[in-house]
């Protein structure tokens, strides 16, 4: 048994014990400490922390989650690391990001399913009343949930697009994949009234509320969902911070949720929206190109360095990080959620 201590960004120390056969993430959970994580398989990087002292053995992981440079610098993935000595770790998140209760498992009913833009579906679920959680949909804007199909055969994670609410509504935008098990279900078998298992909320791609900087959202495709959630929440709270949304798709008919974006502008009068189409095949009046190109242009004339929230495929994130960096936005002011096609 080894002693692990983790220092959070805001100076709190979280301590737990770990067996050599545990991953650090599992060991923490046994102590009812729920550290930021998502894939739990070394794929997403959500659980990356840096090691001040001590040794670990790392199981297989993806270099997207932990690059060679990061590993050389001492970073580890909690979901892939087994302790080989006592450990002192330093986390890139605040204590508030740590949960001290397990991720809820709840049931929800499918109440709406409709196509929105080519290849994308809008799903609406309704939590069932529950003795432990009631019927409220409590989460932090930007978080995701993991859905299990009614027959238990497949699980997928999707970001929530709506704001937390008391009637238990969950709104999702899902891009259909040619051969995904979930996509097959949605395309062929999904019926209003189906019950799905929901594990969530999860994820740390949320607003840095303490930061006073303008908030810029750079999203591709259904990566719009978490940004929409955060912006809707800002609208509900009448948040006065300046904010921009760069929303990009490949073709004009892939655009979706434009009505939701319009209502956002009413709630958040300061919101500036740039719709970006990479290859417009018909007449297109707004930005032609990727949302990252639009971002790079806007950064040239930005009076203040914004916090940048990016959600979309890994290439979009890498490009946005690069654009931010070259405009002098510090690395730790760019927040991202990698979003792998489901």
């Amino acid at each position: 048994m080894y002693k692990v201590s983790l220092l959070t960004r805001d100076g709190a120390t979280i301590a737990f014990d770990a067996e050599p056969s545990d991953t650090l993430l599992d060991a923490a959970e046994r102590a009812s400490i729920y550290l930021p994580s998502s894939c739990r398989e070394g794929g997403c990087g959500a659980c990356r922390v840096s090691r001040e002292s001590g040794d670990v053995e790392l199981m297989a992981y993806s270099s997207v989650a932990l690059s060679e440079d990061e590993r050389m610098a001492g970073d580890i993935l909690l979901c892939r690391a087994q302790p080989r000595s006592d450990l002192a770790l330093r986390a890139p998140f605040d204590e508030a990001a740590v949960g001290f209760a397990p991720v809820p498992k709840r049931r929800a009913t499918l109440v709406a399913i409709e196509p929105v833009g080519s290849g994308t579906l809008r799903l609406q679920l309704q939590y069932k009343d529950d003795p432990t959680f009631g019927r409220a949909a409590q989460f932090t804007a930007g978080q995701f949930i993991e859905l299990t199909l009614p027959d238990g055969s497949s699980k997928r994670s999707y970001s929530l697009a709506n704001a937390p609410n008391w009637d238990g509504t969950l709104e999702l935008f899902i891009r259909l994949q040619p051969h995904g098990a979930f996509s097959d279900y949605l395309r062929d078998r999904a019926a209003i009234g189906d019950t799905l298992l929901v594990r969530g909320p999860q994820g740390q791609f949320t607003l840095d509320e303490a930061s006073a900087a303008p908030r810029w959202f750079v999203v591709g495709g259904t990566g719009l969902a978490p940004a929409l959630s955060m912006l809707r929440q800002m609208g509900e709270f009448a948040d006065p911070r300046s904010c921009r949304l760069f929303f990009g798709v490949n073709k004009v008919d892939e655009l979706f949720a434009l009505d939701a974006i319009d209502s956002l502008k009413a709630a958040l009068p300061q919101l500036v929206v740039t719709l970006c189409v990479w290859k417009p095949e018909k007449e297109w009046r707004e930005f032609t190109g990727t949302p990252v190109e639009a971002l790079a242009q806007a950064l040239l004339t930005a009076p203040e360095r914004p916090d940048i929230y990016v959600c979309g495929p890994p290439a979009l994130i890498a490009a946005a990080e690069e654009a931010g960096r070259s405009a002098g936005v510090p690395h730790d002011r760019i927040f991202s959620e990698k979003f792998t096609a489901a």
Binding site: G134, T140, W166, R241
Partner: protein
Amino acid sequence: MFCYQCEQTYRSDEGAGCAGAKGMCGKDATTADLQDILLYVCEGVGQYLHRARLLGATDIEADRFILFAFFTTLTNVNFNAAKFVEMIQQASQIRDRAKALYEDAARAAGKTPETLSGPAAFAPADTMAKLLAQASEAAVRKDAAILGEDAVGARALILYGLKGVCAYAHHARVLGEERDAIYATVEHALDMLAREERDVATLLDEALALGRANFLAMEALDAANTGAFGAPTPTSVRVTPIKGKAILVSGHDLKDLHAILEATKDKGINVYTHGEMLPAHSYPKLKAYPHLAGNYGGAWQDQQKEFAEFPGPIVMTSNCLIEPQPRYRGRIFTAGPVGWAGVRHIADENFAIVAQAAQALPGFTEDAPEHTITIGFGREAVLGVADKVIDAVKSGAIRHFFLVGGCDGAAPGRNYYTDFADEAPKDTLILTLGCGKYRFNKHDFGTIGGLPRLLDMGQCNDAYSALVVATKLAEAFGVGVNELPLSLIVSWFEQKAAAVLLTLLALGVRNVRIGPTLPAFLTPALVDVLVEKFGVQPVGDAKSDIAASLARAA
């Protein structure tokens, strides 16, 4: 940032004050700096209002804004940086208005308006980043080298006392009670701070003037609360939950509580009080609501654990809020001066959404074993049995009164107050108010001649009641308050307590014991003045302090 306004301020060998990225309360450097700037601009408003008033012109909306702005900067009230940027812009517009008011009044009186400098001339930037660059101009300890430490300490006493006065006055004003004399004193104090007065004697006089204004503010608040909801009467309150949907209301604002009770009427939702909201159960018009079900939890410093476990929404109506934890961040609401970035704020007293949240959350799934405590000994209730009390004193059944009251806090030394109450001899009465009482209010103290030995007089906001009772008893016995068999053992945490202390001093109350530590902003020389002039003393150990109090009275 630099802040040393409250009892838990960071202390080290080098001195006291929160100066890092975050204060001990969780206030971050950005918010702290913006708060300083807001108050600095308010000083500028005060410079003009003070002069306008001398010429017979006033702007009550500006005065009201000052109360609110100051209230937001108390410890554990508002941590929302964006809100402060907004209020700074508002303050700046109000200052322009106050300037015009003053200049017009001066010209109307045939005088040439003065050109004011300092805060009156400070131009706040329009973005957060630029404002932060201006923070040093507004810092609490700026010019310490020129003014001297004692003057800086005395100015801090005024600034923090002023915060307390503003908080009380704001609470009173939302219920319709305002006193022009309070506004006049607030403006005067702001002007004094703005002109960098450095004579310590003058500053201490100003502090006492604030103490007197605070007495008025507390009187107004008492009139507001009793006027709106009736005079508190002794009431037994359940302190364990009952099965059903639930809302928790914390803070000090009875008006908000009333609005919540209205919003949840006949909806099958139980409303619980938390912390300083406990005394609400003793007001006739509030306790008439059958769904005001009980009190839950203890003092503010336990809220993170208690709120996490509470199965419904939580409303913070005033201080003392600490960082909402992820487990309840989505179901905590702020109202009035309170705020936290990313937490829903209810600005319009419409609590329908809270009722909706309560319906959507699980509530308590079973009844806990019943346990009750008795509260509601406001001035009317105590004076209603004054004859009994006076007889008991005369017959020797009551040997002494202890007022063990004030704020609670997390410092370990605060067990002193528990020990004090527990060890007070059986022939003494304990009066209490403020959330410090949570250290002992569930203990059994027994009775003297049918009177409970522990009399809970209410919130820290009800210090007025204690002063009225003391004054009336002194009248009845034909002595001064200082000759009564009464000792005050005051625990302080934040700036309302600073204001109450100034009131006690201004009214000539001597020998107050304060703790658990003395305010960090008071220099040794200032402490000496308080000790010499007013007999103020730091708390020691409970046994000896009790013995000393009884010996002095004997």
